[in-house]
Symmetry: C2
């Protein structure tokens, strides 16, 4: 009954303009042909169809086949059957084919070279090890793993994370305090809904995070950032929470200084507020052990926010919140009664990936790779642009290149002319802070260089383009801003 | 350097109360021991630590090891170092161990037997076939699959769905018109954000959907539902959209009648509104071919909303919107610049699962299984409760049992006493409609029986419990509501 069945309109005794072709059973093929003819206007509204017996004879089909096809098309609204007047094409305007607008591409074509931070080279994903974990995890998963999920997330992964985060990040929590989500952004949304605003944030940070908080009704106000991280002494009694990147201030670099770690926890305790610790790259520190998470200092006043986006792949959409006991139930309530976001099969696979040691191996591999990339960047700058100071290089997946005041914009433009995408530090500044362009604090022009982004073969060329885009002469630190002449575009 | 290294406080020459044990390098073990002693209050705030040289000698460690551990604990905020006064435990209240509240379970213990719709038996998930697809898909995926995702979703899956939905549901779309999301609920959220309100909805439907729309600022007003689906003639000019379940009205059953399909499309064209077609179980029809999607009638005025939650597993978190061309860009903008929700590896796996024919096989298997379940339900009722009318059984994963007016609540309670969870039709009624309990329309008491829910071995017992819970005598249709005496609980 099922199979390829080709016919054509010309051989029909009836004058129905049908194209009978394609696979499927005969009724399905006939229905498709009738729908097509109606859509294309070959059977206009009101057209009376031949009685099913005639069409069946014409087409060499069983009568039932044609009768069923008519009945189903009536049920679908394509045809109308009226007692005594046979079957007709339904009496209403048939949709004209919508004009085939050429789809405009959503983004400008990507430049050839890319040093924008936040998207590590995807070619390093450990496909074989991940598939091995998937096989083990799905084979031994209980049946309920394939049913509606608990918004808490799979216990296997919460167990695995509890051990891993304690060992590697000094996090103190029970598996019950971990709530899984679809990434750090989802975690932030949940916290915004549960805590309300306003929040203090670092004056330099991801615009995406500020926008996301604003979309959830949480206003943000900036804390000054210096070489020791955020000045937490600026925190006030009205801040419901403070969002910090203590392991490696994003994007300016450097861990939060010890006295500020203590002070921010004291502030949270005294005011009943909360520290939200975005541990976005805590595993990637190069010159000594990573600084432990602030969460370990006081698990009842710090939420740790993490994900596998930097360490493994942003594509997996798995993140976690490590919560004070009192916030677990409110966050689960905000998440909804059932898991709607994060895939349980991926959660189980990640649990096995961690428990089997594959995650440690991957982090180690990535750490070596990123460190090598960083060393290449530093070496290239020493050679080609010794006047440029590099900061924030002891950890993470990006570095900050300090630029003479007033030059940031033209350097980013010069890079684009070299076919290189790279972002300025100003792109990360809180809108409430007067930046260099508005005559604000000087000395903060800079480039944020995501050295983990390019594929291996593209990195040297990206570095070359970067060096060519940098100001050729060191500007005297106190000289008035004078943008260098932009480099000519390559011929 | 890394390995197991066990020591104990007693053998120390120093009087530091340290427990040195566990795996890791020696600095990590020492740091852990110091943190633990501070947490537990054995090293109170202000305690002066021995100089690192002495502790190193006491413990038989390299001086650098102890010096590094001190330095890192200072950086983390546990210790404080002041010029001339050595290293002390940081001067602030050390967090007391939070009281170990026993965690209360979030839900009442589940009854033994379950006929609540919406969560098909998870033991039927095709683990082997899914893993085979994962292996093929991840092996041949391009590198960019592991980088930041396009909110549109993987092109491989959009291609596969385009073919599948055209063949099985009569959907007309190009891959560009499909936007992937993390499930039907996510799709509804996106549409709510893009379209705004108010929407018309079927008076019977998922409370979860109405709540979700309300949370996104979209009010809903109910359309009367009869045996031919929603009365779309009640639609007005002010409705921005109408949410329908045309394949099988949820939960009362039955496809939307042909003239209403045509009428609702005409309404959308005339008023510039939109039909949102929740095709939640379009693949599961038993006694004839599935009724094609309304979307096929007019792709520019109908959005089709689908997912794999019923056909494969709710755990995968993959759904789709098939959109009119003009809505693609707004929905993508609402979704965000990068994919934050649905895992690309799962999307690729599903694409292979569809293209390889495994999805068709799974749907066929499920259809046979559900039909058998339905037949068992109908047979059991004919034998044990012939007075009960069953409706909505030609499709789907649940049936509706009509009950005498005024008996729904007591039957649900009686079922609970039999250890059976099952829902009343009233649970699905729009709050703006006066239900039987409020003296509203009579004759709509009923049970929604999810026959796909129990595991194979539990189904006969669930049916037995259901039959025992039903009213033993047919109530005369016009008699005043008189709840039957509840069944005694099993001894």
């Amino acid at each position: 009954m099922v199979g390829s069945w080709v016919n054509s309109a010309e051989v029909l005794g009836s004058d129905l303009p049908l194209e009978l072709s394609g696979t499927g059973n005969r009724r399905a093929v006939l229905m498709r042909a009738l729908r097509e003819a109606i859509r294309a206007g070959r059977l206009p509204p009101g057209t009376r169809l031949p009685p099913y017996r005639s069409l069946a004879a014409d087409l060499g089909l069983a009568r039932n086949t044609v009768a069923d096809a008519y009945a189903e098309l009536v049920a679908e609204g394509w045809l109308a059957a009226r007692q005594g007047s046979g079957t007709r094409v339904a009496e209403r305007a048939v949709p004209r084919t919508p004009p085939q607008r050429p789809r405009t591409p959503r983004r400008a074509p990507r430049p050839l070279l890319d040093l924008v931070q936040g998207k590590p080279d995807p070619s390093v994903f450990p496909r074989t090890a991940w598939l091995a974990s998937a096989r083990r995890a799905l084979t031994r998963a209980p049946h309920d793993a394939f049913g509606p999920g608990d918004p808490h997330g799979r216990p296997e992964l919460r167990e695995a994370l509890t051990g891993y985060l304690a060992r590697v990040r000094g996090v103190r929590a029970s598996p019950g305090q971990i709530v899984l989500c679809s990434g750090a952004a989802h975690g932030l949304r949940l916290l915004a809904d549960v805590l309300g605003g306003p929040w203090a944030v670092e004056e330099y940070g991801l615009p995406f995070h500020r926008g996301l908080l604003a979309a959830h009704g949480v206003g943000t106000r900036p804390l000054t950032v210096d070489e020791h991280g955020a000045r937490v002494a600026e925190l006030g009694r009205t801040d419901r929470a403070v969002l910090l990147t203590p392991a490696h201030q994003f994007p300016t670099g450097g861990p939060l200084r010890a006295d500020r770690r203590a002070a921010v926890v004291d502030w949270a305790r005294t005011t009943g507020s909360l520290v939200v610790e975005d541990d976005y790259d805590g595993e990637f520190r190069y010159d000594r052990q990573p600084v432990g998470a602030v969460q370990g200092l006081d698990p009842e006043h710090v939420v740790l926010l993490g994900s596998v986006s930097k360490s493994l792949s942003t594509t997996l959409r798995i993140g976690w919140l490590v919560l004070p006991e009192r916030l677990v139930e409110p966050v689960l309530a905000a998440k909804g009664e059932r898991e709607q976001w994060s895939s349980a099969t991926e959660q189980l696979t990640l649990a096995d990936f961690i428990e089997s040691g594959a995650y440690d191996r991957q982090v180690r591999r990535m750490r070596q790779r990123h460190r090598r990339r960083r060393d290449q960047l530093v070496a290239a700058l020493e050679l080609r642009a010794p006047q440029v100071r590099v900061t924030g290089i002891s950890a993470g997946l990006h570095a900050v290149l300090e630029l003479p005041p007033g030059t940031e914009h033209s350097v980013v433009r010069a890079a684009a002319w070299q076919g290189l995408a790279v972002e300025g530090l100003g792109d990360y500044l809180h809108p409430a802070v007067p930046g260099p362009r508005d005559g604000g604090r000087a000395g903060r022009d800079g480039l944020v260089v995501g050295y983990a982004t390019p594929a291996e073969h593209a990195y040297p060329e990206a570095l070359e383009a970067l060096c060519r885009a940098l100001p050729p002469e060191p500007g005297p630190p106190s000289a008035p801003a004078s943008p260098p002449a932009p480099h000519p575009a390559p011929a």
